[in-house]
Amino acid sequence: MKIVGITACTAGVAHTYMAQAALVKTGKEMGHICRIETQGAMGTEDELSDLEIDQADLVIVGADISVEGLERFDGKPLYKTTVAECVSNPQEVFVQALKLIEEK
């Protein structure tokens, strides 16, 4: 499965990046190709390309604040959760997110 996503926390200093790393690592372990953009105190990093978004089967947004550019994912199944959940329970985030596809 190709999965893209965004993480963004309140301060944009630490959890945003921890959540990114947790999702990428867990996604890989579960056999997915995972690319996560961060919107933090340094601005947008690891920005998703149009191609990556176009090819994605699923979108995961782990955010405690409003994120920019959600319209890029119009028409894609999108699972929205918190940053804390991505950091502490990344497996569960994938399980729940993948249900969006199974339900289709």
């Binding site: 309140t10 301060a11 200093v13 630490a14 990046y17 921890m18 690592k25 105190a41 950091v87």
Partner: protein
């Protein structure tokens, strides 16, 4: 340098969350990293009350992007006794302070790299096992 050995305490005496944060804030104050200690302390504690920064694995990373910060810093503390932190027990604490404005992206990048790396068990474990301040400093400078 964002991390200095004077910002590291391997024997925190604190027995609760507030005292642990206060001990580390005092290290930052003594190293001239703060322009308003009370303001920073308030910002960190209010952040902490919104969302606990305990990550599991005995680690917490209280932090504040605060007008009370003069120079960005990471202070590190390892507590002698486990500390109740929200619904977890914590003994390793990273206190991160970043000024509200005019901060240096290089510092933010290092903090981001450390944060990403904390997902890895080996890296986390190294902070539990380190014997010297130098080891801690090295872990933080080269995440």
């Amino acid at each position: 340098m964002i991390i200095d050995q004077v910002l590291i305490d391997l024997d925190l005496n604190a027995v609760n969350k507030e005292d642990a944060i206060l001990e580390l804030v005092s290290l930052a104050q003594a190293d001239s990293r703060l322009k308003d200690k009370e303001r920073f302390l308030k910002d960190v504690l209010s952040r902490e009350s919104e969302v606990s920064t305990a990550l599991g694995y005995g680690i917490a990373i209280p932090h504040g992007k605060s007008a009370g910060v003069q120079e960005p810093f990471i202070a590190f503390g390892r507590a002698k006794h486990p500390i109740a932190w929200a619904n977890q027990e914590v003994n390793v604490i990273f206190l991160i302070g970043v000024p509200e404005q005019n901060y240096n992206n290089l510092h933010l990048k290092l903090i981001a790299d450390i944060s990403r790396k904390l997902i890895e068990e080996d890296y986390r474990q190294s902070f539990q096992e380190a014997l010297t301040k130098q080891e801690i400093q090295d872990l933080l400078i080269n995440p």
